[in-house]
């Protein structure tokens, strides 16, 4: 037996039961799902009828429970299942929820909280004020440990092949922390400026807000921070890191994959040399992305993020032999040579002068060759991004007519649709469902292109519409230049002889580790995947660097997990958190098409700071935590651990005490009372927070406009004694807690009027009626009245319409500036589901049933399972504590009985 007893719930009853049992010498496992023990009581202001401070009463009990030699406390833990063990005891599964904070290291200093960039409503203050996602539950928390709320990985972040924390940098932008936002991107990818412009932004497509409108412009925000940072820092602020390793790495290819791998290896402390066959570094970024989308100076600046780390860049240095590299002393080699070879259409006339490949055309323009197309007619064949880029480039070179020819429909064009639209706006004509069959010329130059019309004939295996030529539909048109951009493939470079290749010519490497058959040789980027997106190449470069580092250090690659993430948060889950989504509308702007085709200047205009702030403000923080890493950087104890995961333990326990407490009646169900709609209608728990010394506002203020209330109404039996809301019983505590609040309010606001609309005043406990009389003597007005409806007046005051019970039910109206709903208590009945092989019986109001009511108050329907406190029904604090004591006694008797049996 691991424990004599497991107590579920560490509110006042659970703590009392645990301490009592611990004092008796039993080993207790105390499980609490919140990050702190103390339950609801610790959140109260003062407690009736003695007006003791709830905190002063609770904290010694909390300390006792937390430090008791016989109690093992598991906070932020949930019991998942309890099963009988066949001999009177139980087997319990207890899950430790990930706090993403190492409790052993956390000192409770709150530095993480101050650094955190995401605010959410503070549930410990009943939503009256915000708190941070990294937080300590409340000032008196025991244990005093920070917790991060993470619902999972935000869809944007999850979608990014490079693992760039889009939610994180947006969160930082929203704070005005542009430099930090840039740094956060840089931590995951060195080519920030390029990605901010030319990335195909999977993040954007996955953004939850895409479904409801006003999505933040994720990529454009990234560009904003890159521009903002580069404008202030022409060079990186760092130099080479301390060299930690002697083993040298060679990277072949300086495209996104190679640069990325070099960057991460260098950061890791490895000496890295990049070999680039071309005269300049950057690969496709430089050679195929037109200036109007990605200016070359941005590429240059991005590359300096890599070279600043001391990475040696050898341009115009083709590698002919891998073996040679090894002999030259490189311990590991990464092949990141991309897929630079254009595919052919394989139609007659393709080799005619005047027929060019898209990639070569773009490269020539990129390296500054003067190509004059003034007045020329150009056809571009293909539907991908290279094709669109070529077409728009041709326009900028002065072409009189540019036709983009594609054999399928527009919807199936693989190019980014934003780009296609931009091309059309600039004057590119689309020739869809059309395919060239021959290029014709005079033997020296292209003169015309012969094409055939196509038609769709249903979907093929990958879901795309299959097209076939329409017989007899051939037509011819005159063109001066045809650009073929129908795909890319691997080049038959010499060093490929030294590697195992796949059928399509890509390098064969392990999909996870990117290691090839030769352990020292890794491959990344398009060379492995075939033509893909920049961000994918960057991601693979980073992945390769991770495994190369491990391999170089002699560490196993087998169980190493690269960039573990939490599961992605579903859009439904995010949208379920709220109903309406007010937003700040921002559109990104671009140059006018007629203007922009005149030169190669950037089409998209940058955000202003105000636009960036507004766009970022629309982010929904799907993961709740944005993963901005600020807490991790701020924590002096290095306690933040994003890789923490849920841990489930099994325990053998002799008995179980269910002390799972209650829930407050959800006041928004009282539709006529306007809670949630009228700012100045609050729940009594909210009022308790307002009058507590650790209150959310600086004073007792109404939430509508911060005014000190002068005329406060209490509505009793809100959600109790009411069959219409399915809660017929009396909640027992509302009368008294409201009287208590009334007294505190009269103390805090000496000029305020307090009116209590009630049916009966249930002041039944020791000292309670005396307290009631005292409250009356203080001048609180008591009206026997049933509230029919509350309406809001302009300015936020409330009209309370009630039946005056003392006047024959006459309907009256009274105006108040703050209305408090004395909400009742309902069952927290999830505890029933915990018991896998026995039925934990509930009573008709779904509280844990007490089959032995008169003489066995803590007995439940399951032998060995006992109830304590408000799990059994509404109870005030003294009665809860007494009931918990009784539960302890009965549990102890059960344990003794079982011991005698064995």
């Amino acid at each position: 037996m691991d424990y004599d007893v497991m107590v579920i719930g560490a509110g006042i009853a659970g703590m009392e039961a645990a301490v009592s049992l611990g004092d008796m010498g039993y080993k207790v496992l105390l499980v609490e799902r919140e990050p702190s023990i103390g339950g609801k009581m610790i959140l109260l202001s003062k407690v009736f009828p003695t007006l003791d401070c709830a905190s002063c009463i609770s904290t010694p009990k909390m300390a006792q429970a937390a430090s008791h030699a016989n109690i093992d406390l598991r906070v932020y833990s949930e019991v998942r299942e309890v099963r009988g063990d066949g001999s009177g005891g139980f087997r319990a599964k207890v899950a430790q929820k990930p706090a993403f904070v190492d409790f052993a290291k956390c000192t409770g200093c709150q530095d993480c909280e101050k650094a955190c960039t995401v605010t959410v409503p503070d549930e410990y203050n009943e939503g009256l004020v915000s708190r941070r996602v990294a937080h300590i539950a409340f000032p008196q928390a025991v244990p005093k440990k920070a917790v991060l709320d993470r619902a999972g990985t935000s869809p944007c972040t999850f979608a990014c092949p490079a693992g760039i924390k889009a939610n994180g940098y947006i969160s930082l932008i929203r704070q005005g922390e542009f430099a930090k936002a840039f740094q956060l991107v840089l931590e995951d990818a060195p080519l920030v400026g390029s990605l901010g412009r030319a990335c195909y932004a999977y993040c954007q497509r996955e953004c939850t807000r895409e479904e409801i409108g006003d999505a933040p412009h994720i990529r454009h925000l990234k560009r904003f921070v890159a521009d903002w940072y580069y404008a202030r820092h022409a060079e990186p602020e760092y130099g080479p890191p301390a060299r930690k390793h002697d083993k040298k790495v060679a990277v072949i290819g300086s495209g996104p994959a190679g640069l990325s791998a070099a960057y991460f290896l260098a950061l890791d402390g490895y000496p890295v040399t990049i070999f680039e066959a071309d005269a300049e570094a950057g690969g496709m970024l430089r050679s195929s992305l037109p200036e109007y989308r990605l200016p070359k100076d941005v590429v240059d600046r991005d590359i300096r993020n890599v070279t600043a780390l001391g990475v040696e860049l050898r341009t115009a240095t083709p590698v002919e032999s891998l073996a040679r590299l090894r002999r030259d002393g490189y311990d590991a080699v990464l092949v990141a040579i991309g897929t630079p070879k254009p595919k052919k259409l394989l139609v007659p006339g393709e080799d005619l002068p005047g027929v060019a490949s898209g990639i070569e055309f773009l490269a020539e323009v990129a390296c500054g060759q003067k190509i004059a197309l003034s007045g020329k007619r150009v056809i571009v064949v293909g539907g991908g991004n290279v094709a669109v880029d070529a077409a728009r480039t041709a326009l900028r070179l002065g072409a009189a007519k540019v036709v983009l020819q594609y054999r399928r429909t527009r919807a199936e064009m693989p190019a980014f649709h934003e780009e296609i639209a931009a091309a059309e706006a600039e004057g590119v004509e689309l020739a869809l469902l059309s395919n060239p069959v021959a290029f014709a010329g005079d033997g020296h130059r292209l003169q015309s292109v012969r094409s055939v019309r196509m038609k769709t004939v249903g979907a093929d295996v990958d879901g795309r519409q299959r097209t076939i030529p329409v017989p007899g539909s051939e037509y011819s048109a005159d063109f001066d230049l045809a650009i073929v951009a129908v795909g890319l493939s691997a080049e038959a470079a010499a060093l490929r002889q030294e590697m195992r290749l796949n059928r399509d010519g890509t390098v064969r490497a392990d999909a996870r580790t990117l290691q090839t058959e030769s352990p020292w040789l890794f491959a990344a980027g398009d060379a492995v995947t075939g033509p893909a997106m920049i961000v994918q190449a960057i991601g693979l470069g980073k992945q390769a660097a991770f495994f190369m580092g491990r391999w170089l250090r002699g560490e196993s690659l087998d169980n190493a997990e690269f960039a573990p993430q939490l599961p992605v948060v579903s859009h439904e889950e995010v949208l379920a958190r709220q109903k309406d989504y007010p937003s700040l509308n921002v559109e990104k702007s671009e140059r006018h098409p007629a203007e922009r085709i005149k030169d190669f200047a950037e089409v998209d205009l940058p955000f202003t700071e105000a636009e960036a702030l507004a766009s970022a403000a629309n982010c929904l923080n799907c993961g709740i935590c944005s993963e901005c890493q600020e807490c991790k950087k701020a924590c002096p104890a290095d306690a933040i651990d994003f890789d923490q995961r849920e841990k489930v333990d099994d325990y053998d326990v002799g008995a179980v005490v269910v002390a799972t407490g209650f829930r407050l009646f959800p006041a928004e169900r009282l539709a006529n009372f306007g809670f949630g709609r009228f700012a100045n209608v609050i729940s009594a728990m909210q009022m308790d927070r307002l009058v507590a010394p650790t209150r959310p506002f600086n004073y007792v203020l109404r939430p509508g406009d911060g005014r000190t209330p002068a005329n406060i109404a209490y509505v009793f039996c809100a959600g109790s004694r009411d069959r219409t809301v399915d809660n017929p019983i009396c909640s027992r505590v509302c009368c008294m807690y409201s009287l208590k609040q009334a007294q505190l309010l009269l103390g805090a606001l000496p000029v305020a009027d307090v009116t209590i609309y009630n049916i009966d005043i249930r002041a039944f406990g020791k000292g309670y009626d005396e307290f009631y009389e005292q409250t009356r003597a203080m001048g609180v007005r008591f009206v026997k009245g049933k509230i029919a409806r509350i309406t809001e007046k302009e300015g936020g005051n409330l009209l309370v319409r009630y039946e005056d019970i003392d006047d024959n039910g006459t309907v009256r109206e009274a105006e108040h500036d703050l209305v408090v709903l004395s909400v009742g208590i309902v069952a927290q009945d999830e505890c029933r589901a915990l018991f896998a092989d026995a039925e934990l019986a509930l009573d008709e109001t779904l509280f844990v049933a007490q089959p032995g009511k008169q003489v066995d108050p803590a007995r439940t329907s399951i032998p060995g399972v006992f109830s304590a406190g408000t799990a059994t029904g509404p109870l005030d604090i003294p009665d809860s504590i007494l009931h918990a004591g009784a539960a302890a006694a009965q549990t102890a008797a059960y344990i003794e009985k079982m011991k005698r049996k064995t």
Binding site: G127, L620, L701
Partner: protein, 92 residues
């Protein structure tokens, strides 16, 4: 009897969608609110709301968030209409 009180009483959503949104925008408006206080001196909640053209409950919310983390301080006493004034805490 219905199966589960979660159905009868779905988890309280006292924290309405509006609140969550207001919370999220807290940092985005921070510079504006703090700038306003820097420029105009201590203001009441309705004055902040009016100056920035935002709803008063939101203005209160944001101010309280800033008070919580010591960026804004409330006056000791309310004015005759019952409003406190909120001032920028100047960081040394």
């Amino acid at each position: 009897m219905k199966d589960n009180s979660r159905e009868r009483f779905p988890e309280s959503v006292a924290i309405s969608g509006r609140r969550r949104e207001t919370a999220r925008q807290e940092f985005a408006v921070r510079a504006r609110v703090l700038g306003l206080l820097r420029e105009r001196g201590p203001l009441t909640v309705p004055e902040v709301a009016l100056a920035l053209g935002i709803p008063a409950p939101d203005a209160l919310w944001w101010l309280m968030g800033f008070v919580r983390y010591n960026q804004v301080r409330a006056s000791e006493k309310a004015d005759d209409d019952g409003y406190y004034r909120y001032a920028l805490v100047e960081v040394k």
